[in-house]
Symmetry: C2
Subunit: 729 residues, 2 copies
């Protein structure tokens, strides 16, 4: 079967031939005869002028890109889109609401701030955003990071006060003062995050997100889910423990909860588990009947409403001591300047939050853009998110980005444009100004259940481990480092460590290249690793060394060593052998008066080439004379040329260039010619600036392909004039 | 002239032809027919077994490599080498002595510890070292780094005590207690440096030194020289100021000296300047008459002896208040355990000292080894230095490495083996146990002059700046960052910043590749940038995109964007255009009943290929109908294939692979074929593990060379069956 196919192929390809017949080129010839540089007409100044040219067209484009709503709103097809957007907006709003309440708990601020954060930024995104499908708002990982900072800056221990009525009681936690302080911290952090995102966006630094490679993000978010679940355990169990932050906080938290597990509130636990099971079932149903359901079942809002009702009806808070959400003020707060005095200690944290927030946003936005065939502008997204965070922070919100689960709701319910997000924000607004107080009896354990179920998907990411094991060990290492570091060190340091590690993997990849000695696959002009492929045949007297990396400071030594080892041609050994031979010869001359050198010439594969060979008999004759002769008895080396295949090299720095020149010199001293093949033209230009072609290096040692180099070496080895200089000279 | 040469060349090359005639290959064919993998006989277990095999031969080799003296001493040719080694050893010892005294000042410890450090480690290196020419001992940069740490850990402010006799005087600095403490710090640091170097050596981490690329080392050592000169200014002027450490210490030091410049001791200054001028003149003479002088003039020891004599004769210390070396105890100290309680705060510093020390040593050792044709073992050098530091630290020494100036003395005076170093250490020993007290009246300003003159050479490194500007901007940036960071932040943080920056430059290089659209240089099979070379001609309908970088997470987005921009083929635009066209066509069909598509076929360069073209008339006919038609009026795209030239790609990660698959899909949706050319076999193996060839990607879309890919694309575009699917389907 296979053979027939192959035969059929061959027939079809019979006419399609790869046919080249030309002289062997070297770089000197290419430069003088073959290629002429095109005059580049633009100077630096012209390019700069072009870059900073000002025109009304440019101004208009800038305005439009800054306020994308001006582009899409005027052409909004009301008939086609409005109905879907309304349905989607209402559905998303209904999810936005419980998530806002729940994620506020993660952010360590009172629930109402979660509602604020689900309104202002969402409203603003409508104007500045370029993605039509993402749902901006509270997000578990970012909320948790904020919460970590808030707890660190305003720990419980700071707010124990002696009760006013007397000294017979122990100190009591002043919850209100603590929460007020935590809100301040969260708000200032958000302002800072906004500023960082805006500045990054204006500087066109959207690309920083690329360092967050997928395995890193997945390992990191899995770790974040672990943190979230750990932080919610106590709410689910109704255990009252301290909240920890900083390195090892996850471990401390688990330890605290389990050491206090005896005080579990059974009512809380049962209620929480019921919510958990219900939400999970709803999620499963929604997933399974995706196509049949017009709108996903809003499990979360059902849980909120029912558990609020139950809690209120049975007075769970008073009679069963179940922790409830508590005071939710009605209405919005007037804008206020954040407490900037807190800034200095939050700078590093805000960088972490800003980068995580943005990279979550842009990755989701890109997925949807791809699916629906439009494009998002990374830098404008960065500016949009930054503006959302910055402006909203004056209205007491904490940092937002978009959430995966909510965006999927918005998209799957038919959301077409940012109008859906706008409507979702109005749903939240309605609750805040009208019926917020209704949710006061909502048990915290229900919110914990909502958070946990929303993170179920994240835990599926553990399945990456076996997949990555099979596909790429390096990426598995990135995943694991991101996960372990983020779980143990906390999300901020964990992210830092993960990014540093990711960058080092790139260094590692360029620094530990795969090396191979290549051989010719006869008749094809192709060269393959001789250790890997049976057809690859080494050319007599020529070693072709391939390395799949650039040559620069971090690997030039390794390159040279690998070359010597792989090719088996070591100039030091050759030099010693030659010294010994010379001594030998002097002796021989004085003894016998005749030079012992014999030059063997033979033909193979239609190409004649000369190989210097050292007469074996000579060694035999003198084998007993002295110890240095053992060197001389080694098999004679027959390699006259080494071809460095630089096809894969993308850059060479001065250290690399020096190492190569040194190498050429060393080999020249033992009459082995080193030539370079397969340089790209951009690499050659770089070598020119490095003044690489001076002294021992000349452009006629550089060939456009390995085959050119091999042909040249074979030819000049067989030419008597071009043969390596006679040793006796 | 040039033309003649070229003509001559052409004649010579006329016989040497590059001639290949074979079918066009794709990867599917290569795998099934052309290449067969060689069975690799060694399994992982076998390789491990081989690695850990134990034999007496191995044990002997390990012992010999650990104690290189066992290799070279038995075959030491006494007649040939001993005399040179004695001369060289005495000369080096004479230099070792004043440098030891002087660098102890840099290390902020009493001078006698400099002498200890010039004896013990030098002695030990004889046994463990593999380099025959480097002179181990005190070194300015390392001494300065130690001094910085000692001052930080034991600042003057800690040692002010109230005089015992009464309270009418202000607090007095307890110099003895302070110095004792500083010695403790320096000694513990040295122990730690030794341990780190030994561990690194045993772990075969000698390669870490490669991150210290040449521009970094030169920028760093220049900065170190600035620090040294700044720290010596006060001794030269005889001004008494505090010693600073940590970030910005250089600036504080200069400020302190200049604000106190009125208190300059004129005698000190004159003496210092005389020494400075004398030493500089001697250095110049030695340089100029290198070949005529049998042994370099020992300027330093002359300065030491003469200035000691002058100081003693004129009682400079008492009568002119010139600062002198002061108490030098006679004899050696008994071994004592370092004060390990100081360890924790010194860990980071010791890493910095260990790495700088080692990299100085190995770079010098390599230079000499290359010059004299022997080899040094990086890891054994690391162990040797580590043992020198570790063992010596129990005898109260501070960390050593080899110094450039001293090693040059040792080598130029004819040193042949480590015996020279051994003799130099005996010279120092003699002084310590017998005549050390003689140097007590030696003025500090003379030592400052010795230090400064020794660093003259380092300042010549400023000349690197214009050179690097011409050759490599990136390396210039590394030099400048290393210099500025090390001057401003101190040597430890400076080094860290410089290394981080250097690593980022590698990322930058791989991440911001040079992209080009290639064209064929007719008749050669070579492809060049069409913007750069006049001869390069684009093939009709085929865009060849070359990028000189691997495709991985940090640049896959940039790669895709660059591709779309450079080739001018944007699938989104094409899709929109197609939608518009379809609408158009539907209209046209309902109006006219005939499909407007016209397929233009033409011949060029002997190869026929079809190009899909959209009838221009159609646009004209309907140009007034609606706004979406403007898209349709754009020039028709005629590109049917895009060739990705992956010749320079050395690795692809999962993010990159995903991006490429996405790209292939996007283009497939608009009937543009994307093929890959020039993958190395190691990259193909990597792509296989990434499961890249599944779904849209097949192995027959991969070609061994760009020319294969182009021939294939041209052919299948002209084949009716293989032509892009008709749009209407």
């Amino acid at each position: 079967m296979e053979q027939e196919e192959a035969a059929a192929r061959e027939d079809a390809d019979a006419q399609l031939m790869y046919r080249i017949e030309r002289p062997v080129y070297d770089e000197a010839f290419i430069r003088s005869q073959l290629l002429s540089r095109r005059e580049n007409s633009t100077t630096l100044r012209e390019r700069l002028a072009h870059q900073f040219r000002c025109s009304s067209k440019r101004a208009r484009a800038a305005a439009l890109s800054f306020l994308p709503i001006l582009t899409w709103l005027p052409s909004y097809p009301v008939k086609q889109y409005l109905f879907s957007d309304v349905v989607s907006g209402l559905s998303t709003g209904v999810v936005q609401l419980p998530q806002g309440l729940a994620y506020a708990m993660l952010a360590a601020v009172p629930p109402v701030y979660g509602l604020y954060s689900s309104f202002y930024p969402v409203l603003l995104y409508t104007f500045f955003g370029t993605s039509r499908h993402i749902s901006v708002g509270t997000f578990a990982v970012v909320s948790l990071m904020i919460g970590g900072v808030a707890v660190r800056e305003a720990p419980d221990s700071m707010f124990y006060v002696l009760p006013a009525n007397g000294s017979n009681m122990s100190a009591v936690l002043d919850v209100e003062a603590r929460d007020a302080r935590r809100v301040q911290v969260a708000v200032v952090l958000t302002t800072l995050v906004g500023i960082i995102q805006i500045v990054f966006g204006l500087l066109r630094f959207g690309f920083v997100a690329i360092y967050l490679t997928e395995p890193l993000v997945r390992g990191f978010t899995t770790a974040a889910s672990v943190h979230v679940v750990v932080s919610q355990l106590k709410y689910l169990l109704g255990v009252k423990t301290q909240r920890f932050s900083g390195p090892l906080s996850a471990i401390y938290s688990v330890k605290a909860v389990f050491s206090d597990i005896a005080s579990t509130n059974v009512t809380t636990l049962i209620l929480g588990l019921v919510c958990l099971v219900f939400l999970y079932a709803v999620k499963d149903l929604n997933e399974r009947f995706k196509k049949k359901l017009p709108v996903p079942i809003p499990g979360e809002i059902i849980v909120v409403i029912v558990s609020t009702g139950v809690s209120y009806g049975l007075s769970l808070s008073e009679d069963y001591l179940v922790d409830v959400v508590g005071k939710i003020p009605t209405g919005l707060l007037p804008p206020a300047a954040p407490e900037f005095s807190l800034l200095p200690s939050l700078v590093t944290d805000s960088f972490a939050v800003a980068i995580v927030g943005f990279s979550m946003g842009i990755s989701l936005a890109k997925i949807f853009a791809l699916k629906h065939g439009y494009s998002v502008d990374g830098n404008q997204e960065l500016i949009a998110l930054g503006l959302c965070n910055f402006i909203s922070s004056f209205f007491q919100t904490f940092a937002v980005t978009c959430s995966m689960s909510r965006s999927l709701v918005q998209e799957s319910t038919g959301g077409k444009t940012q109008i859906a997000g706008l409507l979702a924000s109005f749903v939240v607004l309605l609750v805040v100004v009208a019926v917020g107080f209704v949710f006061q009896p909502l048990p915290q354990t229900a919110l914990a259940a909502i958070i946990m179920v929303n993170l179920m998907g994240m835990f599926k990411q553990f399945r990456d481990i076996p997949t990555l094991w099979r596909t790429s060990k390096i990426e598995l290492a990135i995943w694991l480092v991101a996960f372990v570091a983020s779980v143990l060190l906390g999300l901020d340091y964990g992210l830092l460590v993960a990014i540093a590690f990711t960058i080092l993997t790139v260094i590692y990849r360029t620094q530990s290249p795969k090396n191979a000695v290549l051989g010719h696959v006869p008749g094809t002009g192709l060269y393959c690793d001789v250790d890997e492929y049976e057809e690859a045949a080494e050319c007599e007297g020529i070693k072709i060394f391939h390395s799949n990396s650039s040559i620069y400071f971090a690997n030039s030594d390794l390159y040279v060593n690998a070359l010597k080892k792989k090719t088996g041609v070591n100039p030091e050994h050759l030099k010693e052998a030659r010294k010994a031979r010379k001594k030998q010869k002097e002796k021989a001359n004085s003894n016998h008066g005749s030079p012992p050198k014999i030059c063997v010439k033979y033909e193979k594969q239609g190409v004649s080439h000369a190989v210097l060979s050292y007469n074996g008999q000579l060694g035999d004759r003198h084998s007993k004379s002295d110890s240095e002769e053992t060197v001389f008895l080694e098999p004679p080396h027959t390699v006259h040329s080494i071809v460095l295949d630089w096809t894969s090299a993308s850059f060479v720095d001065s250290v690399g260039a020096k190492a190569i020149k040194q190498l050429v010199k060393e080999y020249a001293a033992v009459d082995v010619r080193v030539v370079i093949a397969g340089c790209s033209r951009s690499l050659l230009a770089e070598l020119d600036t490095l003044q690489f072609f001076s002294g021992v290096m000349t452009t006629d040692m550089v060939f456009p392909t390995v085959h050119d180099a091999v042909l040249h070496c074979r030819d000049s080895a067989s030419h008597p004039t071009a043969a390596p200089a006679d040793e006796t000279t």
